[in-house]
Symmetry: C2
Subunit: 470 residues, 2 copies
């Protein structure tokens, strides 16, 4: 008999994500320091990384030097920002001047452009410690990564931000930069029990990564405070995407705020929500209603129903847009690296783009505009929309079935994530539920531009509701 | 006594740009071939390049191989597109898999990412011959390049697309890819006597170059037919920018079309138009009116006046937006390469961005939206707007004055170019005037999305009006 890998059961009531914002006082009075904080992170990494495999590369020597400089700034009472000294992981899709950017793709092995993405540049300006590059699935696509779920190594950490979610979920770092195209930030947040902010489209400057119309940089964090502090530190230094307003909101984390009205939106993925997870989600909704919040829902609200109808086909719609937008660049890479792409990526990107065609793409853009306009109808009616962040806790991925086409979503079903991507809407994952000993998240989605308000409502959910275990 | 460099006087009535589209018949019947066409281009380059200096690097061996393959396709009657075999120059801001991309900047010396920009990828798909990289000013900014004007080597070819304009003006190639931020495509078109298309913002996929909200890829060409064929060949293969519709229009060049009504818009640069050039432009306007076209103009039309008022400050507005959007990336480069930037670029980008600030940038975006909305008022009233493409023919650039701040616009005044950049509007340069033996262009500007219509009206101007010499 072989022994199964160790499984740490997740309890949302007792699990505490790693926090940084609470350390400032101790940094100032010298009872703690960014260098000691970093060393604790490195110790956790040494312990957990052999199984979790969240990192592609780390610059530990550089991090220690940065931590010492940060320590000196805090001692002088002159930190560069509230996140001065915060050790952070950077998803390996973003360029970093001191580490390679290999994008989880054989074609980019050794790629080392020696410059910083806008968000990385801004983090350094704010004094954050760029500790390493976290694992991404191949080019942010569907091919799974070697990273394992910190709560059960047989399971996926989700993707494409596999390493960012797992590193924060394993308490290796208090925060990591993730990105979302379909569900690449929110689904890993759900699966790894971390806070996640996918901001309004364009609210955080993507730097060199502007080549898709519905991708966002965002944050995984062990606490909502650090999540906000990291996001606003970037946006206040590097701004939003060119032509877009930057993330709007206060320099300090927006305090919890009870909503007056919310809508529950079931989406086309509702039927794929597993029964236990559905029960957990409904218990959360019951608690919200019992707190005095008005809850709008299908059957009782025509606008919610209109929006749900508009969302039909959202996964195919979003997948098509992404595949088309990436196809020229990926075909160019594939021409140079015939073995550089997984069969799954080829199928996803090239076949989907071929089926869509130029006219189909432009029709998809118009459809997206129509869905977004329909979503705006909810703006004056509700403070936020509630959905599950995923169709359940992290699934086991046992590999493709020989002789059958490659599975479409080995890192999990993105059906609950495509709405916020497509709508360009801010979305927050609240790690509030445990299903079968695994994390499962509540998603709070706002209207574009209302990121701070959406975070405030998500914090209210996190602080006022009782975590649910099923 | 030193002898002055040879000066070839420009006469718009007799000067013929190099054409490619007329060669198809001879390619088919074998009396000419893409290989022979290429060799003629290379002969012109050998003759003119020592003085003009339009190229950074050429891949002549690769070009000959591509030309032979194209020759075989034409002989079989199976060209990949109407521009199969067209030798083209690529502005050195765009990535090319087979040549370095050095961006006219010391910090990028030797930069060689070995992948293609979207437009370059599409050109290769269409069978065009990517002959070489044409000189850009430093990072597309204000610092002048070593390229000289083909009609007078003491004068600037304009910038930032210095090499693209000069290579087409010197008849080295029938077309080149240029880009515009402020006036980087249109001004060189005017100064080099070439046709130029600056399309609707987003209508030609910029590939990796998406990091500014008001830049466009476009085309310099010796004829309006090749200009259109190149643009549509790219857009029909690589599409528009992510999230934007691609260039709209027919596969064949839109035939000339007489407008019913046009507006003459003077802009804030009108007072800087030199008297001879103003006389030439007014003679063109008189001819348009004499042809039976209704001409709206300040003094007689309130909407034109409203638009002119909206354009006040357009150069500073556009410059500020561009400086802010580039500042994080350029600061990152400057940190690594303390001597990598000219003093002029530092002043332009960093000082301007510092003065503007984040709030100033977002106000600039709102102002731009207001100017654009005001421009839309002209849409139902006129078929196109006419302006000079530059404030005169190419000036002599004799260098900065010692002890004084670096000159702001050594490659020419962009005052007539910022409107189309800021509005995201299509603009076409018609090489229709000669001033003092130098080219000076007429600019035809349309509403966003009306590129084909705008080209058709520009062709009417080119075919129906008598070239003016002053």
């Amino acid at each position: 008999m072989t022994s199964a890998p160790a499984v740490v059961r997740y309890d949302p009531a007792t699990f505490e994500g790693l926090r940084f914002h609470t350390a400032a006082e101790a940094f100032r009075d010298g009872t703690d320091s960014p260098r000691e904080y970093l060393e604790r992170c490195l110790a956790t990494i040494a312990e957990r990384e052999p199984v979790v495999r969240a990192w592609v590369v780390r610059n530990e020597e550089g991090a220690r030097q940065q931590a010492d400089a940060s320590t000196a700034r805090w001692r002088r009472g002159r930190p560069l920002s509230p996140i001065d000294g915060l050790p952070i992981g950077i998803k390996d899709l973003l360029e970093t001047r001191d580490m390679p950017t290999q994008m989880g793709c054989k074609a980019f092995a050794g790629n080392f452009p020696r410059r910083d993405n806008a968000a990385v540049w801004a983090l350094r300006q704010a004094g954050a410690i760029v500790l390493g590059k976290t694992v991404t699935t191949e080019l942010g696509g569907p091919e799974p990564s070697p990273t394992t779920n910190p709560f059960d190594p047989r399971r996926t950490p989700g993707g494409s931000s596999s390493g960012s979610g797992a590193a924060v979920g394993a308490r290796m770092v208090p925060a990591a930069i993730a990105t979302q195209t379909g569900g690449s930030l929110m689904r890993p947040a759900s699966f790894n029990g971390v806070w996640g902010l996918k901001p309004t489209q364009g609210a955080i400057n993507r730097g060199e990564r502007q080549t898709a119309s519905m991708t966002s940089h965002g944050v995984h964090a062990g606490s909502p405070e650090d999540m906000w502090l990291v996001a606003i530190a970037i946006a206040s230094r590097a701004g939003g995407d060119p032509g877009r307003p930057a993330l709007q909101g206060p320099a300090a984390p927006p305090p919890a705020r009870m909503p007056g009205t919310v809508a529950v939106v079931e989406t086309e993925a509702w039927d794929r929500l597993d029964p236990l997870s559905r029960r957990a989600f409904e218990q959360i909704v019951d608690q919200v209603e019992a707190s005095g919040v008005r809850v709008l829902r299908r059957g009782g609200d025509a606008v919610v129903e209109r929006f749900e109808h508009a969302l039909v086909g959202v996964t195919d719609l979003g997948s098509g847009i992404l595949a088309w937008e990436h196809s020229w660049a990926f075909r160019d890479i594939a021409a140079d690296h015939p073995d550089g792409f997984s069969a799954r990526a080829t199928r996803f990107f090239f076949d989907t783009a071929d089926r869509l065609g130029a006219a189909g793409y432009e029709e998809s853009l118009r459809t997206r505009a129509a869905v977004t306009a329909t979503y705006a109808l909810l703006g004056p009616r509700v403070d936020a929309v509630l959905l599950p962040t995923s169709s359940g806790p992290a699934p086991v991925w046992a590999g493709d079935v020989p002789g059958e086409p490659p599975a479409r979503w080995p890192t999990g079903d993105p059906g609950f994530n495509f709405p916020s991507s497509l709508l360009g809407a801010p979305s927050v994952n609240v790690p509030l539920m445990g299903v079968d000993g695994l994390p499962f998240g509540l998603q709070v989605m706002g209207q574009p531009g209302t990121d701070a308000h959406t975070v405030a409502i998500a914090r209210w959910m996190g602080e006022s509701l009782t975590p649910v275990i099923v």
